[in-house]
């Protein structure tokens, strides 16, 4: 079917960009400044949602702005895969923008203007990446995202933050300079274009295997990066749970589906090799998570593990597994954001970061810990939460593809998930409170409401997964 031409993808990006500008201009009027983010989030979500029916009907929305090089345009294209990423990001921005106001005010954080401005810009970059029509446009947004999240990582400006942010930038920029630039140049050289083509841009070009192998092997590694450091504030950790790491995985999917094409990946035997690599990641990261007492570190390693599910779904090359992987983008986002919100809520209310100190805190923060429990269930994959749906499809896909080994990986990792998540809830609700604990620990409304909302979403996506399944099936064909 013919693509629709519309300016809406651009508007969705511009809204967040303008929000960042407005935040900078309103730096001296705090209340007004704080209102900008939620407002922009709602408008952005409206734009994204307005495009959903067209995409569900199997059409794409195209907008070519100008030519950069022969065969390379600065262009947007809204398709099913981009829609999954964009709807998740824009919807969660609404919750996150309210939550961060509560968080920043509760802790009386410094440099709030910088924080909100970078936050809004990173959302613009995430949605811009989701709607990119070619690798060039995607890489522009990808780099913008890396850069504007850098100030969020060094936000605290203490020794730990500088060390972490340095590592963060070295990994991200190192990977993009050493791999992305070369890959782009090589792809352009071979194909004369950088467009995303359903079925693969390089399909049928006889692309040289060695460099492509290097590229696809490094892509999943990408997920390791954010976990290499634990973001200093839970709010930025949330960005790394949703925007940055999802962008990495999204890029990997784009490259696998629309640059190589599943046919080429299969022909070169890359699928299985990558699948083994990500399986290794899934299990190792889970074991890492098991050993962490710092709640945020545990969540971060869990993210590494969970993101690999998404890549696994793509490289198993069975349509059912692909659907599972793509749905997991949404499911993991909803659940993991809930868990990060909870970690921040606990920290705001009590100043506690280590799980071993959280004994009995569930009685003081019932909403927070209740939401945490629901998020954990979804991560483990218990019905009727969203995690069940994606794991079901993934499991079905591995059986269908005759790869029982990956079924075992999935089951083993579910056990590990349970092993590192459930003790947190257990300690919080049934642990004995330390005698010296103060009774001032209580829920903060502006923090509790968003985290309950995302917990509800985690269940809702399990009960009504139709929207995401429809989109995912469009991608998987």
């Amino acid at each position: 079917m013919d693509p629709v031409t519309s300016i809406r993808p651009l508007l969705a990006v511009v809204v967040a960009g303008l929000a960042a500008l407005a935040i900078l201009l309103l730096k001296n009027r705090e209340r007004l400044r704080d209102a900008v983010s939620p407002l922009a989030a709602v408008v952005m979500f409206a734009f994204v949602a307005s495009m959903a029916p067209t995409v569900l009907a199997g059409r794409t929305i195209d907008l070519t702005l100008f030519e950069i090089l022969p065969g390379v345009d600065f262009a947007f294209r809204v398709d099913a895969l981009g829609m999954v990423f964009a709807s998740v990001s824009s919807l969660l921005w609404i919750a996150a923008s309210i939550y961060s106001i509560g968080y920043m005010r509760a802790l009386n954080e410094h440099a709030q203007t910088r924080f909100y401005a970078c936050f809004a810009t990173s959302l613009a970059a995430a949605v811009g990446g989701a709607f990119s029509a070619n690798l060039f446009t995607l890489v522009i947004f990808y780099e913008v995202l890396s850069l504007v999240t850098y100030p969020l990582v060094y936000h605290h400006e203490d020794e730990e933050a500088w060390a972490g942010s340095r590592k963060y930038l070295v990994y991200l920029m190192g990977a993009s300079k050493s791999v992305l630039l070369a890959a782009l140049a090589l792809t352009y050289q071979i194909a004369g274009s950088l467009d995303f083509v359903p079925g693969g841009l390089l399909a049928g070009t006889g692309a040289s295997a060695p460099l492509l192998t290097a590229k696809s092997a490094i892509m999943p590694m990408h997920a390791w990066l954010p976990a290499a450091m634990v973001a200093p504030t839970p709010v930025s950790a949330l960005l790394h749970a949703v925007a940055v790491v999802k962008m990495g995985v999204f890029c990997a999917l784009r490259v696998i589906f629309d640059i190589f094409g599943t046919g080429l990946v299969a022909a070169l035997g890359l699928g299985l090799a990558t699948a083994y690599l990500v399986s290794f990641t899934i299990l190792t990261a889970s074991i890492y998570a098991l050993t962490r007492d710092d709640l945020k570190a545990r969540l971060a390693y869990s993210t590494v593990s969970q993101l690999s599910y998404i890549v696994l779904g793509a490289v198993l090359l069975s349509p059912v597994a692909m659907v599972g992987g793509i749905i997991h983008i949404a499911v993991h986002a909803f659940s993991k954001i809930t868990l990060f919100f909870c970690a921040g809520s606990i920290y705001c209310a009590s100043g506690k970061r280590n799980i071993s100190d959280m004994a009995g805190i569930g009685r003081r923060l019932p909403w927070t810990m209740g939401a945490f429990f629901i998020g954990s269930l979804s991560m483990i994959g218990v019905p009727p939460t969203g995690g069940f749906v994606s794991k079901w499809y993934l499991a079905l896909g591995s059986v269908e593809g005759g790869e029982i080994a990956f079924l075992i990986v999935l089951l083993a990792s579910s056990v590990l998930n349970a092993a590192y998540f459930l003790p947190v809830s257990y300690v919080a609700f049934f642990g004995k409170e330390a005698p010296e604990s103060t009774p001032t620990v209580r829920e903060i409304p502006m923090i509790a409401i968003p985290l309950v909302a995302t917990a509800v979403l985690s269940v809702a996506v399990g009960l009504f997964p139709g929207y995401f399944i429809a989109l995912a099936e469009r991608v998987a064909g």
């Binding site: 522009i140 340095r166 050493s178 630039l181 140049a185 090589l186 050289q189």
Partner: protein
């Protein structure tokens, strides 16, 4: 209307006028007036440029020494027109950059700057080999004076080293020019020489002679050692000219002489040239990584970046050459801006040691924001000018020689490392300033000098089509010359 003559000699006329002015402030404004006028003329030239042909445009020819066949011939094509524009743009930026930085002998400085300007424009416009050589050699003198008189503590040594290196190269070039004149039908006409068929054995020797001359200017490793000294000692305007324009002349020499006049030798030596380029990229990057002096860091990064230029040129294919030429322009904009920024902060604090700074973002947010922009442009962030250039160069490189190109990619990685490291130390972290100095943010004059460069960073980065359109026809013509008919790619 002899537009090119006007462009070339307007600054020289300005220099003449300056000689009769006493008041320092009037000197500054007059210099600014003439360079601004020159820029307006250059914009007119660019507006009237026909991008559909490879032929020389705005040509002028008058007999000069008819007995030897020497003519005063000017003209621009797609390869040179961007550099005439760039030189004219940086002319008034250099005047603004020297506004307060030069405190003694202002008049003499501005005269040197304007004479330099005329000679550089002459190099890019000359269509007669003899005329070209006159401009090329004469350029050394004002540059020598600018470094030697207004430079830092080691200025005499640096100026002398600069002079010796380039002079040594130029002498070999002169020998080459004479051989070319005798072999090529006793003419100095660059266009005619570009269509002569010279025997390969002669080409081969000429190529090596030219290589020495041009490699010193670029500079390519291992004849690069004059550059850091010259840069560190030169005043800000000197550094800007050196990086943005003078270095381009070596690469321009390859494009104007080596490739069209010695096509077979160019093909023959291309792999060696690619290797030297990759070496410069990596070695320059490693040296930059080790620097604590801001100016040295930018100077060594220039060596690395110019490696990308020569890499692109000697891929001898369309993408590589177009990328290489675009990268010449980009390097002029970005590195020129970086030297301007080093100059601005040095003017305030009188130290260039990276370790002495910290947290500048809090004191001078506008300064550090623009510094970030140009640092990111220098490391080829997508969306900025250098990314387009490097993408084309590497794309051409993978077609020409994948193994060497893969090494060049490492250089790009080093670029990210030293630039981000520098920025983090200078701009972020706790506030630290040398000797408790006070720092004011950029003022309106400085902002005016910065803005056009910032615009070009994004313009080329996001919409390079007009720029590539200008060079396209000439590069295709050049490729036909190098590879023979029917090889437009």
């Amino acid at each position: 209307m002899a537009l090119l003559s006007l462009i070339v000699f307007t600054p020289a006329v300005g220099a003449l006028v300056l000689a009769f002015i006493r008041n320092e402030q009037t000197v500054r404004w007059t210099a600014l007036g003439f360079t601004a006028l020159d820029f307006v003329l250059a914009v007119m030239m660019l507006a009237g440029f026909d991008a559909t042909t490879h032929a020389m445009q705005f040509t002028e020819a008058r007999p000069w020494v008819p007995a030897l066949g020497i003519t005063y011939a000017l003209g621009v094509d797609g390869i040179s027109v961007l550099f005439v524009f760039l030189t004219a743009l940086l002319g008034w930026i250099c005047v603004l950059a020297s506004w307060t930085a030069i405190e003694s002998k202002v008049k003499e400085f501005m005269i040197s700057l304007l004479v330099m300007q005329s000679l550089m424009l002459g190099v890019f416009c000359a269509l007669d080999l003899f005329l070209f050589y006159v401009f090329w050699e004469a350029m050394l003198i004002p540059m020598y004076i600018i470094i030697g008189v207004w430079g830092g503590e080691g200025r005499v040594y640096a100026a002398f080293k600069f002079f010796l290196y380039t002079l040594a190269g130029s002498l070999l070039f002169l020998v080459g020019v004479i051989v070319l004149y005798l072999q090529g039908g006793q003419t100095f006409d660059i266009i005619a020489l570009s269509n002569q068929d010279i025997p390969f054995s002669v080409q081969s020797w000429l190529f090596l002679a030219f290589l020495v001359a041009f490699a010193v200017k670029v500079p390519m490793v291992p004849v690069h050692t004059w550059l850091p000294d010259a840069h560190v000692q030169a005043p800000t305007a000197g550094s800007i000219i050196l990086a943005a324009v003078l270095l381009k002349m070596g690469a321009y020499g390859f494009l104007r002489f080596s490739l069209p006049m010695l096509p077979e030798a160019s093909v023959y030596y291309s792999t060696a040239m690619l290797m030297l380029s990759a070496l410069a990229i990596v070695y320059g990057g490693l040296l930059a990584l080790a620097q604590d002096d801001l100016k040295k860091l930018v100077a060594y990064s220039s060596i690395s970046h110019m490696g990308f230029v020569t890499l692109g040129i000697f891929t001898l294919n369309l993408r590589g050459l177009e990328g290489g030429i675009l990268q010449m322009f980009n390097h002029g904009v970005t590195t020129g801006a970086l030297f301007l920024f080093v100059g601005l902060i040095y003017e305030r604090t009188h130290t260039r040691s990276i370790g002495a700074y910290g947290g500048l973002m809090k004191l001078a947010p506008v300064y550090t924001s623009f510094l970030a922009l140009f640092a990111l442009s220098s490391m080829a962030l997508p969306g900025t000018n250098s990314f387009v250039g490097e993408l084309l160069v590497l794309s051409g490189g993978f077609a020409a020689n994948p193994a060497i190109t893969a090494i060049a990619v490492l250089g790009a990685l080093l670029g990210a490392a030293y630039l981000l490291g520098m920025y983090r130390k200078v701009a972020l972290g706790p506030v630290r300033l040398p000797g408790g100095a006070k720092v004011r943010d950029v003022n309106a004059r400085e902002l005016i000098a910065i803005l056009p460069l910032a615009v070009l960073v994004f313009w080329v980065g996001l919409y390079p089509k007009p720029f590539l359109g200008i060079i396209d026809a000439s590069v295709k013509h050049l490729l036909v010359r190098v590879h023979g008919e029917g090889s437009g790619q």
